[in-house]
């Protein structure tokens, strides 16, 4: 059972990393416009 002393902090570190990634993407403006990017991915097969 003592494995939880490692596993839980590790899980929290992982969750924090994901959260930091989310906050980073919000601050970069990646979630500002949710209408256009879904349309944009349709066109990426050229250029």
């Amino acid at each position: 059972m003592s494995v939880i002393y490692i596993m839980i902090p590790l899980a929290i570190v992982l969750a924090t990393a994901a959260l930091v990634g989310f906050i980073w993407s919000v601050k970069r403006g990646q979630l500002d416009d949710l209408d256009t990017p879904p349309a944009r991915v349709l066109f990426d097969d050229e250029d």
Partner: protein
Amino acid sequence: MRSHRNGGVPVTALAAPEPPAATPPVVNTRREVACAHCSLPVPSGQLAPDAEQQFCCAGCASVYRMIHGCGLDRYYQLREALNTDPLGPVDLAPDRSRYGVFDDPAFLEAHTRGLPDGLVHADLRLANVHCAACVWLIERLPRVCPGVVEARLSLRQTVARVTWDPQQTPLSRIASALHGLGYPPYPAGASDTRSVRLAGERKMLVRIGIAGACAGNAMLLALAMYLGLLDRMAEQYETFLRWVSLLIGAVALAGPGAVFFRGAWAGLRTRRVTLDLPIALALGVGGLAGLLNVAVGRGEVYFDSLCVLIFLLLVGRYLQMCQQRRMTDAVTLMQSLSPIRCEVRRGGRWIELPREALEPGDRVRVPSNERLPADGEVVRGETSLDTSSLTGESQPARVGVGDDVFAGTQNVGPAIEFTVTATGAQTRLSRLMEDAAAGVAAKPGIVAFADRIAGYFTLTVVALAAAVLSGWWWAVDLETGVQHAVALLIVACPCALGLATPLTLALGVGIAARRDIMVKDAAVFEKLAAVGRDRPGLIALDKTGTLTNGEPRVVGWVGDTGIQALVGRAERDARHPAGRALRLAYDPGDGEPFAGVVEDPRGGLTAPTPRGLLRAGNARYLANAGVGVTDIWLERAETFIRRDASVVWIALDQKIVAAAALRDAVRDESARVVRDLIDAGWRPTILSGDIDATVRRVANELGLPPIDAHANLTPEAKRELVEQYREQSGTVLMVGDGVNDAAALASADTGLAVHGGAEAAMTVADAYTARPGLTPVTELIRLGRFTVRVIRQNLFISLSYNALAVTLAGAGVLSPWIAAILMPVSSLTVLSLAAARLGRWKGAEACR
């Protein structure tokens, strides 16, 4: 862009620079040849027998050539693959194709921003943006216009951010390229307000992210503890889990949860109780008790429930905010009243300058059908100005040398010149808008229903907690009393209510949007629901464009009916409102327009027809052309004149043969809607800037008493009347469209701007209907009542859950895991009920 993605908001309709009614598409029923660009049927007159592609108009043809010439034909394949709605007519009036002023330093200063690497970017609002294929086409701008580094379009706002190298290309060339692709650009305006707004949205998302991560992790730990409880977990592990969940709970409470503490505190300071207070109470007490219990190693911790609470409440608020922002966006797509460019005399010659470069003392020329860029005094020429957006008068006002003229009015006559006396923020138009904005700021917000009950709710919960505390203290001991009271305070948190209310409102806003009503502030629903048969309210209606069509229609004809078709055909391309009315009344069909038609913007037209020279116009025009109106004809048309209609005389070969009566007629449905409103407890009142006789006639037709018809009102007087009514009769709903209504719209409890309204009216109104007429008004009232009814049902259900939980807590049998199950279940019940009820709303229910 009426796609499935944007919730049905008809953005294209709003983005079109001119109302489609002005240029009804000519539909050919005999031979359906689709235009290669816009897919509309090509009229027979435009068919080119040998050409590979057929076009409905020159605009479509030029756009097609541009797209084809740049090798961007994929646009058409994409459009077909995406299966979007037809594009509709492309508005490419030639006088909009000059973008020279976009390079003026004053314009660049106002609308562009330099980037550190020498590049410049600007936000341009584009007309005609339609669908995903438009995104593809616009973002290929670097291929069309060398020097452009990047173009990014936001479909929702139809704003493109264009980044370019000013050394390689001027902005005017970029603007012309966009115009050539079929998207006439306009400066998008205040980027500051948009970035402030964006920052707010991002902050909210970050909060939700943190709260969600905390909630998920806290729940996992709680699950371990509940399972450990049954399984006899070793004490050191449980202590460890409790400390970790304390850590997570502290992050959630101090970070995203702080919103509720701040809200409750702000409310208390202004002596108002909001729903934030009971939420903050539960969070605060739960957090403190949890901290103590972890520290002493005894008793329950509720961090999982607290985290989920914060997360769900924030999500509810975020969704409501998104829905309202969407509506605000849809409304800001409206065209500005002020023109981008104007003709100014500088250094002895006429040059084009952007509006921003105007200074008092400048001499400006305003051609026919343009809007005035500034306030001033006429120095040359004589014309008629359409001042309806500023004053509400339906008849154009005649102005001559020495008269004052105002920005935002439209020149419907020949060109005039005037000396600028006030520009920008100093114009009457801007002052009216400022006035209106001040009214919005000063408007006392209604106490939302949920907030109104929050006070009683808090008192009851605190009283119950005190009773439980003292009861258990007396029966067992203080510690047990405290534990049970804390449990009660947490489970009594109005989570279901705090979550379901904003979501129900957001659903209501969405339903309204599907009916082309943009609700910018969901409080509108509650305000409208406050009026009923026993609680009367007042609905103030602007006359022009609301009760009436807003433009003249043919209401009578005397004389030779055989020439009606001739008149319709002669007026086929007429720009004067009277000409439009005649064309609509006497459909010219597919017939070719007559060659050599001469239109005089002062109110007349001459056309050579197979039956002779046809003249149509007012008495003055005909007199100038040498045609006198004889007494016999004056007599025949007398009833028209008496009934407040203006007369268009028709002459064939210099002899009057007929007369048509034109009037801004009352809309067909207005009378019925007015009756419905009275039935629902509203008292309709007309507030108009128009002349007495016209207003009285409209009131008479609608069956309203003269006391409820106010004429000759200035914008300021309208506002004063609305304020007066608010003091006398409670709720006031103002319905209007013009700048002259803006101040009144802002001071009314609810301001509703109607179809075709001016920008100022849209900005200050709480809601906007994109459909003409008054039917949307009654629909909105009905929807408001329905939404509020659903909210009340939610309240009842969530209070039942709370009562159950409070009883369990008071009896001391509520363990944290029961609380953890009860809370989301109650929220889910309320949410699904709200969604199901509102989803079924068809608008068929009675107004009352």
